[in-house]
Amino acid sequence: MPRRVFLVRHCEATGQDASSPLTAVGQTQATHLADYLETLGVDLLVSSPYIRARQSVAPLARQLGLPVEIDARLAERVLSAEPLADWREAIKQSFVDLDLAWPGGESSRAAMARGRAAIDGLLARPERAAVAVTHGNLLTLILHSFGTQGGFQIWERLTNPDVHCLVVHGERVEISHLGSNLRGDGR
């Protein structure tokens, strides 16, 4: 079977801090995510160190009895150390000029490189199907690194949670977007 990576944006969270937990709705979303992913042969779980990412994969880890590996390279991209007046506009610009960086922030190119390295690391392992939980901006950059066009529009349309599936056929990677409409055999 071709190798797969399910690239997941975390479920609904209470805030943007590394320590912000999921909302009650987010907790329920995480169980639905687990119900969906657990029948697809997933055998490796990796998460951003942020609490909202770890909580998003926790129910799946429990149901599958698998540990969750933490990879700091899946943490959200830091746009700027200081709050920006118009951060949406800043993100938009950051997809146009990949080298743009605000003080204390990370350029799109730098964030994309570490995010992609994390995914390449997963693909180099013997496990067949991984789940990698990360964040909206970084996820969009990882998709960009695989050739998906339209960075800002993709980012804008992401939901919580949001799932993309990368299927590796030799040199070719096929990407499908599942969004948050995750319906399993659950009735």
Partner: protein, 185 residues
């Protein structure tokens, strides 16, 4: 007429795995194990809460213990893979999607009643989403429970696989399994 002792029957939702397994069990004395009973915690309405994988596997282990033959119906792609080496025969049911959807509609109607699944009913949304999901089986890729995923899974199996295609009566499927066993013997 003998059939293999440890049989697994799988296919898309509505392909008739449970029905075929119960017919085999009735005629050949196999214990009938159904994945739904291990996967889901019994609730009312059903199919709301899943069991953790280790509990499922432990229950399955218990149910398989002992010398008698068994037939296991339902899809175990992924979580049930530790059982693969035990199967003497895996039967893959491939049924046209319109036929499956008609069966699933009828099953949900019988299970929940017309009111619950009709527009405005308590289970309407779940019903609609379930049928939509079941309808994507043929076109979906490896990101969902699809024909593609099942084909990839079955291609990697080490043992015997019998593929039964089409909307055929269950007795005909049973006859195919028996005929195959007869040839092997």
């Amino acid at each position: 007429m003998q059939v293999p002792k440890r049989i697994h029957i799988f296919g898309a939702s509505g392909s008739g795995t449970t029905r075929l397994a119960s017919v085999i069990a009735g005629k050949h004395g196999h214990r009938h194990l159904d994945m739904d009973d291990f996967f889901w915690v019994p609730t009312n309405p059903p199919f709301r809460e899943t069991r953790p994988r280790d509990q499922r596997l432990a229950l399955l282990e218990q149910a398989r213990r002992g010398p008698g033959p068994w037939v296991l119906s339902g899809s175990l792609c992924g979580w049930g893979d530790p059982l693969i080496p035990e199967f003497d025969l895996v039967v893959f049911l491939v049924v046209p999607t319109p036929v499956r959807l008609a069966r699933l509609r009828a099953r949900e109607l019988a299970r929940y009643g017309p009111q619950a699944i009709a527009a405005g009913g308590a289970l309407h949304q779940g019903h609609v989403e379930f049928l939509e999901w079941a309808g994507r089986y043929d076109t979906g890729g490896l990101e969902m429970r699809s024909r593609a995923l099942h084909e990839a899974w079955v291609a990697a199996l080490p043992g015997a696989v019998l593929r039964l295609e089409g909307d055929r009566p269950v007795d005909e499927h049973l006859a195919r399994i028996e005929a195959r066993a007869g040839r092997e013997a």
